[in-house]
């Protein structure tokens, strides 16, 4: 226990110096890539916004079922199998069949290589489930079908969210999937997330459709409100062009009418359709519908074949800019709801850093004074170890570019308080050994050996708590778990290598001293 080889001393010194250097890279600028790492500050310390979005998949499911009814109807029509009264209720498709056809319909759905019910070969589970309820059959999404649907709408949504956030130009946003229907957006440095919230809150589903008075329109009609909420118009369900046909959209100033507009460019397909519709529809009103509300419904005066046009609707420059941005980034597959928001202003973040640092400094000084008064020379050893331990802890956090949060700083302070435990256990044990043992070196050895299980127990129990916190906790609390957990390892290292090195030097120099501790 007492003996340290030269190599070992070298290793301990190098290791400590390395981590002290890495830790200090937070304060100084290093040109080197390796040393230029920094501890990330959590949103609670640097200020910023944390938004948790949930995708509302109901409309997507509804839409998919709608498409499915058409597919089912056409499929069986082709096969000359009669199905009647097909309808959607509570996310189920119901239809009536006649007894003779029933088995063949069930077979189609349950066939492993079914034409209309895929997934079986890949997932060993169909997309759709069919339930036999007499002459009325019920079809709905299987578990696997729903999972696929959710993950695919999540994939699309995260892409659109990323584009919108990027367009606003915040620095280093963090956009992550959570579960299969949530998206986490972290926006460092943003203290007023209002604009991003309103941008993410819009589906941005854009369609151009004719206003009609014909209630018996072939495609069906619906009554829609204008954006101002006052007027209403009856609009055909036939979509001339939609947001997908847009190549670009930009806010512009229309100097003639002296108003802000959004000008857009269409892709080839869109341009063709728009040209055709505007040539046949001269004199008619073309409604521009965004998320179920009419922005404006200008009268078509000319054929527009150029594939570009403009939307007016009493915009301010800001609203025009946002609309253009939404149109450029595309429509979300489903509406998003912000189910959790946490925003911290930058000055509160700075205040928290200051408070945390002051608490750390004071806590540290109190512990150091206490240890010195109580233990003298061994207290000094403990204190040196504590300082090195603190640097190694910061060094490890820096090396892994861990995120430091306010509770994380509390975790560091707590580590300082608890780190003395192992040293105290050892020193107290040495003291006890010295009662019956006159040989200082043997007492020292005994102290280390006999205290080992207690130290191990103590640290394992704290580590268990930290691990659970890490996996169950979120955001700031996770930061606490990280510093507490890493702190345990650095503490053990500094106690068993650094403190022991110092103690062994002291003890071997004072082999014959009467009162060692």
């Amino acid at each position: 226990m007492l003996y340290f080889s030269k190599l070992r001393i070298l290793f301990i010194t190098l290791f400590s110096v390395l981590f002290i250097l890495i830790a200090s890279s937070n304060l100084f600028k290093f040109d080197d890539n390796f040393f230029d790492k920094k501890i990330n500050l959590g949103l609670d310390l640097q200020g910023g916004s944390y938004l948790l979005l949930e995708i509302d998949n109901e409309p997507v499911i509804e839409q998919k079922l709608q498409n499915l009814t058409t597919i089912i109807r056409n499929y069986f029509k082709e096969k000359n199998i009669k199905i009647n009264n097909i309808k959607i209720e509570n996310q189920n498709i119901f239809f009536n069949v006649i007894e003779n056809d029933k088995q063949s319909i069930l077979d189609v759905f349950q066939d492993e290589n079914s034409d209309i019910n895929p997934y079986y070969p890949r997932f060993k589970s169909h997309q759709l489930e069919i339930e036999d309820t007499g002459l009325n059959l019920k079809v709905n999404f299987s578990r696997q079908g729903l999972i696929k649907l959710k993950t695919s709408s999540q994939d699309q949504a995260i892409e659109i969210v990323r584009r919108r956030v990027d367009e606003v130009g915040t620095n280093e946003p963090n956009i992550l999937k959570r579960g299969n229907n949530r998206i986490l957006v972290e926006l460092p440095g943003l203290d007023d997330p209002m604009r991003i919230k309103s941008l993410l809150g819009k589906t941005a589903n854009l369609t151009f459709r004719f206003v009609t008075n014909d209630e018996n329109d072939r495609f069906g009609v619906e009554k829609l409100k204008f954006e101002n909420g006052l007027e209403e118009a009856t609009v055909s369900k036939r979509i001339i062009i939609s947001g997908e046909n847009l190549l670009d959209a930009q806010p512009k100033m229309d100097t003639q009418a002296n108003q802000t507009i959004v000008s857009f460019t269409l892709d080839r397909v869109g341009a063709k359709r728009f040209g055709k519709a505007t040539s046949t529809g001269i004199g008619k009103q073309l409604a521009i519908v965004l998320d179920g509300k009419i922005i404006s419904a200008p009268v078509v005066r000319d054929t527009i074949a150029s594939g570009s046009g403009q939307i007016s609707g009493g915009f301010t420059f800001q609203t025009a800019t946002d609309l253009a941005l939404l149109l450029r980034s595309g429509a979300l597959p489903a509406p998003l709801e912000i189910i959790e928001e946490r925003t911290v202003g930058p000055d509160l973040g700075q205040d928290s850093i200051n408070a945390g640092m002051i608490a750390l400094a004071i806590g540290f000084i109190l512990v150091i004074i206490f240890m010195f008064v109580k233990y003298k020379i061994f207290g000094l050893i403990t204190n040196v170890t504590l300082i090195v331990n603190l640097f190694i802890l910061l060094g490890v956090l820096t090396l892994f570019e861990a995120t430091l949060t306010l509770p994380g700083i509390a975790g560091i302070i707590l580590t300082v308080g608890m780190a003395v435990d192992a040293n105290v256990l050892i020193f107290e044990r040495i003291k006890e050994e010295l009662k019956d043992e006159t040989n200082n070196i043997l007492a020292f050895d005994g102290g280390y050996t006999k205290s080992r299980t207690a130290i191990l127990d103590a640290n394992i129990t704290t580590l268990l708590a930290a691990i659970i916190l890490f996996f169950m906790g979120s955001g700031p609390v996770k930061g606490f778990a990280v510093t507490l957990g890493v702190g345990i390892f650095t503490t053990l290292f500094s106690v068993y290598f650094i403190a022991r090195l110092f103690t062994s030097i002291y003890v071997s120099r004072n082999k014959d001293k009467e009162k060692l501790i």
Binding site: D44, A410, E432, D457, A458
Partner: protein, 296 residues
């Protein structure tokens, strides 16, 4: 040597009373859950105008039809904490509030922190908090069960439950807010309390092997005294660190550090007066550990 064992019965009675009171408080008064676990909106506001105070803010917010609004000073005279349920989960609520406040206070205030937790998320956070605490208790149980004989495990676990229940009881009594960081504190308390107990138990077991003629009643007292110096120093340094956080770490960490301080105090007390008395009451003797040693 201090005769801790003289007061085993007294403190057992005291702890029983404390636990019963805490449980009654938890059942009938309940805990003051913050928005993390109950859902709702929190705004930390800093004012630069003396016209803005708790009552003027309360007036303003009450006019906005937000349901139950609580307005409190937060740390110093210029900082306020506003909380409300946001029952309908209105989307642009923050913007609306700003517009409304601008009318009365102009630009003389600033939102320093805004938190909005929907009902779904708060229910999930509560669930995962309960799971985390139960899981940590279960893991500690397994750990101690592997490390020690069952009598010791029972003692340690009773001490652990005592600490958690009484700490929560104090939070209930003073209506202190339970939020995510309190869960972190409780988990750390669980770790700390276990640690403290294990150090003493380790010594008890060692002494059991060493002395066959000393009764457990005496033996626990010897062990407590032998480890007392360590117990005092470790809890003192931990409390010093926590006190620094409580006094200087800012308002946000106040609840967390308070819970930890309570936990460390109860944890230290329970290692001595609950964990050990269980060993005495179960008449643990040298045979208990020797039997176990033979098995291994």
């Amino acid at each position: 040597m201090i005769a801790f064992n003289k007061y085993y019965n007294h403190f057992n009675l005291l702890s029983s009373i404390l636990i019963v009171i805490s449980l009654l408080l938890l059942i009938f008064k309940g805990l003051n859950f913050g928005i993390d676990f109950q859902g709702g909106t929190l705004i930390e506001l800093r004012a630069s105008d003396s016209k803005i105070n708790v009552s003027s803010l309360r007036d303003r917010f009450n006019q906005m039809d937000l349901g139950d609004v609580s307005v409190k000073k937060f740390g110093n005279d210029t900082d306020f904490l506003v909380k409300f349920e946001n029952k309908d989960n209105k989307k642009n609520i923050i913007e609306e509030i700003k517009v409304n406040l601008d009318k009365s206070f102009g630009n003389n205030y600033d939102f320093r922190r805004v938190e909005n937790v929907g009902p779904k998320v708060s229910a999930e956070l509560l669930k995962s908090g309960v799971i985390a605490i139960s899981l940590s208790l279960a893991l500690m149980l397994i750990y101690i069960w592997i490390r020690f004989e069952w009598q010791f495990s029972l003692g340690a676990i009773l001490a652990l439950f005592h600490d958690v229940i009484v700490t929560l009881g104090v939070f209930s009594l003073f209506s202190l807010e339970i939020n995510l960081s309190i869960i972190a504190a409780v988990l750390t308390i669980v770790g700390y309390s276990m640690n403290d107990t294990v150090v003493i138990f380790d010594r008890v077991r060692e002494n059991l092997r060493k002395y066959s003629d000393i009764k457990i009643f005496e033996l626990t007292n010897i062990s407590i005294n032998e480890t007392l110096s360590r117990t005092i120093i470790t809890s003192a340094t931990t409390l010093l660190a926590l006190l620094a956080i409580y006094l200087f770490g800012g308002e946000i960490l106040k609840g967390f550090s308070l819970a930890m301080i309570l936990g460390v105090v109860f944890g230290t007390y329970s290692s001595i007066y609950i964990a050990n008395t269980v060993l005495v009451r179960l008449r643990v003797s040298q045979k208990t550990v020797l039997r176990e040693d033979e098995k291994k």
